[in-house]
């Protein structure tokens, strides 16, 4: 066996080791590296009352209610399997709207409402021109346009 073959095998074995370690670390981090928790996880008991956390989900259709003070909004965050009511006082990003994604910073209140201090809009991976004559079947019509 030539020296360069030895080096090649050694390098490849080391590379596999490093890749394996990386995959193990990544899967171990599955929960910790998640940027937010979903309504299913929250209802499954992964959120203690009063613990600071992020909740991510879709804003349920027809759920946004503006309160009398004009600043506070209430809506329902859903992931299709579970939903969590959210209350937020402040200004939301332009892209925040029904049937689109959002991520909220805040904590659970004892009554099961998530009280948000901050709301971010989550964009999905679709990009389309505004006047598409016929939208593909798997795309929903944009809300509020």
């Amino acid at each position: 066996m030539k020296a360069k073959h030895q080096r090649l095998i050694l390098a490849l074995v080391a590379l596999c080791g490093v890749a394996g370690a990386g995959v193990l670390a990544a899967s171990a981090l599955r929960d910790e590296a998640a940027y937010f928790r979903t309504p299913v996880e929250v209802q499954g008991g992964k959120a203690a009352v009063g613990e600071a956390m992020r909740l991510g989900g879709m804003v349920a259709k027809g759920s946004i209610e503006r309160q009398a003070d004009g600043l506070t909004i209430r809506f329902v965050a859903t992931d299709g399997k579970a939903s969590v009511p959210v209350e937020y006082k402040g200004i939301v990003p332009d892209l925040f709207g029904e049937e689109s994604g959002m991520v909220a910073d805040g904590r659970m209140r004892a009554d099961g409402t998530f009280v948000a201090d901050r709301i971010l809009a989550k964009h999905d991976e679709r990009y389309m021109p505004p006047q598409m004559g016929e939208m593909p079947k798997n795309m929903k019509a944009p809300a509020g346009v």
Binding site: K4, R7, L8, A11, A14, L15, V18, A19, A21, G22, A26, S27, L29, R30, A33, A34, Y35, F36, R37, T38, G56, V92, P93, D94, L95, F96, S100, V103, I119, L120, A121, K122, H123, D124, E125, R126, Y127, M128, P129, P130, Q131, M132, P142, V145
Partner: protein
């Protein structure tokens, strides 16, 4: 492949190739940018903000592609000890880091109006920032060493660093799939594109154009390193002759 590992043969190809890569790359980037900014409509939801895509996506591709090539060069250096591979790795590091920074900057500028924040520590953004730091580390490792005496080849440490750092590339790619993240999932996959065709075609032009420009920059930097090495070698010979 071995035949092109010889610097003289490499130069004979690189020299005429550089202006072509540079010229065609510039044309494609300018054409793609013009089409992306002026010709195609804005996105149905984001409006004009979506147009930053035409710079952001090529930057991300070249930042990650740059490190992938750098790691391959590191492997070739470790195993076959071709002098050109070390030179290539050195030449790739700076433009790779530049495009990674450009990707982070354009993403941040896009994130402010879209998400409502300049920066969040989600999986995609954090792993991309790690890539920027990896580039900085590689540049620091290779800029103060005695590479010039070794004809530009990498030290073993730097080559191993390049290989180990490559583990971050699949992590960046998969970060939006493995973990809940603020960054959206992949728009373009092997299965197709969720960017509508009307908005997609300028992206093809800018991705190809920036890639050719990247190639031109790398070739120019490689030629400069080879020229530097030759000057150093000649000066040393002259000094030796005088000393004798």
């Amino acid at each position: 492949m071995h035949a092109y590992a010889n610097p003289t043969r490499f130069l004979a190809i690189a020299k005429p190739l550089t202006p072509w890569l540079l010229g065609v790359g510039l044309l494609l980037v300018l054409g793609g940018a013009w089409a992306g900014l002026a010709l195609v409509p804005g996105d149905y939801k984001q409006g004009e903000t979506a147009r930053i895509l035409y710079v952001h996506v090529p930057s991300a591709w070249l930042g990650m592609g740059g490190w992938t090539s750098l790691a391959i060069a590191g492997l070739i250096q470790l195993v076959w000890r071709h002098p050109l591979s070390g030179i290539a790795a050195r030449a790739i590091a700076v433009p790779g880091m530049l495009f990674t920074a450009l990707c982070l900057a354009t993403g941040s500028i896009w994130g402010r109006p879209t998400w409502g924040t300049w920066w969040e520590w989600d999986g995609r953004m954090t792993s991309m920032l790690v890539l920027l730091f990896l580039y900085a580390g590689f540049i620091a490792l290779t800029s103060g060493d005695d590479g010039q005496r070794q004809g530009g080849s990498l030290s073993r440490g730097a080559a191993i660093y390049a290989l180990v750092g490559a583990i971050n590339i699949p992590i960046i790619n998969r970060s939006v799939v493995w973990w809940n993240s603020l960054h959206q999932g992949p728009s373009i996959t092997l299965g197709g594109s969720s960017i509508d065709g009307a908005l997609l075609w300028p992206l093809g032009l800018t991705v190809l154009g920036f890639s050719l420009l990247f190639g031109a920059i790398v070739l120019m930097r490689m030629r400069r390193i080879i020229a530097d090495n030759r000057v150093t070698a000649r000066l040393r010979r002259l000094a030796d002759d005088e000393g004798a």
